[in-house]
Amino acid sequence: MLNIQDLYVQIKDNMILKGLNLSIKPGEVHALMGVNGSGKSTLVKTLSAHYDCEVKKGTLKYKNNNLLNLDVTQRANEGIFMSFQNPIEIAGINNMYFLKTALNAKRAYLKQKAMNAATFLKHVKELTKRFSLHNDMLKRDLNEGFSGGEKKRNELLQLLVLEPNLLLLDEIDSGLDIDAIDVVAKAINSLLDGKRSVLMITHYERMLKQIKPDYVHILEGGKIIQTGDYSLAVKLGEEGFKNIGLDRGDKNETA
């Protein structure tokens, strides 16, 4: 699904990722952990072609194609979905209209027939009912005036509608209460059909308990320094980064 070799990424004048290697096979769930500023968010933003991230070196292959040849829109339509740590508010764009436009953009890219409004509405309402999401969100403008939790739920709804192949979850559980984390986990698990893959960033063990990762990676200084299974996340939860030789710094959280 995804193969990253010797990746160097710069934001402005700072080299954030320094020789990162990672391989994700179809159906695998990977968790990315690390102190603030270690490069977790930069990695998922790079995979989603964020304009801040400049790839200086390395290869990025997705479904055996060179990801660097695809722009942000193409990557999304090829099945890469990044849930934002801080989803953007856009007043004046109705959420339902946005979701329908995004879905039909993907269908057009895949040369499928556009979904009409009635079918789309029915489909979305089934999803909101199944995953206990408020229909009210659909009527409002995109993330405008949403609480932190509502924004994350809206990211989840987009994810469910677009059914991506590679889910990049950048702290999708932050700002959510315990019940909401359970809903998010349930929704993500429902998408895991053995073909879809997940790369998730989280600080909460509760999320990892419910979406059990196949691999847990620790990122430090722009590269993966340790890889283990779920037990590594448990160890981190119990002992913290300090006791495995890493300090929580005051570096930029978004890096």
Binding site: S48, H50, Y51, D71, V72, T73, A76, N77, F81, M82, F84, P87, I88, I90, A91, G92, I93, F98, T101, A102, A105, K106, Y109, D141, Q158, L162
Partner: protein, 380 residues
């Protein structure tokens, strides 16, 4: 005949670049076109029947003459013509229109309207200069929603110099919205002026787009206690079109309020002028003044000249003014694209979102949805 060559110009000095307000205004097109003053060509208005709507009272004016068969008014909406009244205005365009017309058209609303009034102005005259004028009067305690639209279907450039005078009596509230669908080469000048009595409120929503040249001129005097003027305007232009929003607001009494918010969306080689001057006199204690110009520049070749000006002679008031310009928000664009939407479509959605902010300020849902339809954004 060119505008500068008309006889009425003997007493009226048309604006030029020497005038402070018009320094950045491009007069080339306005003064170089040739127009007929008393056009004889008069096509039927039948082609405009589609503009009527059963949920509105309708005042249908074709080439400034009422089409009684197409108008559906009620007993408390009186439309009539009277002998021209002298009207003191410093605005040259208003003076020009006054010198041009022989009778004043008056719209008198005597009671609160149970549904909005739609004024449809259609023009089928070619290469012509027209000065459609209308005095809109609301009696005490009246509330009304008025939506006014202007449509041309002519060959050659048309110049419309539109005069609107609002007279609001005590406790009257008027929500007035206007827009136009003109031929690309047409030029339109709107002259709005108003006088207020106690606690009356006027909201003007102005949606302008796709016209060679658009000039909005607001001349408002707040003479009475508690009177309020709100102007929400959207100017979305492209190619080599240009737009000017010029306002002169004077606060003369206590607790008066003026709020002007103008959004510009500028493409290609367009030019925009925002020239708003609010004067708060000593007698206008506790006044509230807001001036705001925002411009989204969608091209490197477009320009805006924004001058929000405050002239304050009293100590106790609340006033703020701002003028901002910038491009489409890159992070918003990225967010939409990250969901598979193309850059072009994402830009279109974001521009629409800017427009929607002004459309949503139209309180009456019928007026709002009609205007969205009129501007080709949705279906009623």
């Amino acid at each position: 005949m060119k505008l500068l060559d008309f006889e009425f110009n003997k007493h009226i000095e048309l604006p030029s670049k020497n005038d402070e307000s018009y320094k950045k205004f491009d007069f080339t097109r306005l003064y170089s076109n040739t127009y007929k003053v008393k056009p004889t060509q008069n096509q039927s208005a039948k082609q405009y029947d589609y503009l009527s709507h059963k949920d509105f009272y309708i005042l249908f004016l074709h080439n400034s003459i009422q089409e009684t068969g197409k108008s559906t008014l009620c007993s408390h909406i009186q439309y009539h013509t009277i002998n021209k009244e002298s009207f003191d205005s410093k605005n040259t365009w208003t003076q020009l229109a006054q010198s041009f017309i022989e009778l004043d058209n008056c719209l008198h609303i005597t009671k609160t309207l149970d549904k909005p009034l739609l004024i449809i102005n259609t023009f089928s005259l070619s290469n012509s200069l027209l000065c459609p004028s209308l005095n809109i009067k609301l009696d005490n305690n009246c509330t009304a929603d008025i939506l006014e639209v202007f449509i041309t279907n002519n060959k050659g450039a048309c110049f419309l110099n539109v005069n609107r005078v609002f007279n609001l009596a005590k406790n009257a509230t008027l929500d007035y919205s206007k827009s136009e669908n003109l031929k690309h080469e047409d030029i339109i000048v709107f002259n709005y002026s108003s006088s207020f009595l106690n606690t009356s409120s006027l909201v003007i929503n102005s949606i302008d787009s796709h016209c060679a040249q658009i000039l909005n001129h607001w001349d408002i005097v707040l003479n009475s206690v508690d009177s309020i003027i709100t102007i929400n305007a959207l100017s979305h232009i492209r190619a080599n079109e240009n737009v000017a929003n010029i306002a002169s607001i004077t606060h003369n009494n206590i607790n008066t309020s003026s709020h002007i918010q103008i959004k510009h969306i500028l493409r290609d080689q367009t030019k925009a002028l925002f020239e708003v001057k609010t004067k708060v006199n000593k007698s206008a204690l506790f006044s509230k003044v807001i001036q705001s110009s925002t411009a989204t520049l969608l091209s490197n070749e477009t320009t805006i000249n924004a001058n929000p000006k405050l002239e304050i002679y009293t100590d106790n008031l609340e006033a703020k003014h701002s003028a901002t310009c910038g491009n489409i928000d890159e992070e918003q664009l990225y967010y939409l694209q990250s969901r598979g939407i193309t850059r072009e479509k994402a830009e279109e959605m974001l521009i629409e979102s800017l427009e929607n902010e002004i459309f949503l300020k139209i309180k009456n849902p019928l007026c709002q949805s009609y205007l969205l339809w009129f501007k080709g954004k949705t279906h009623v």
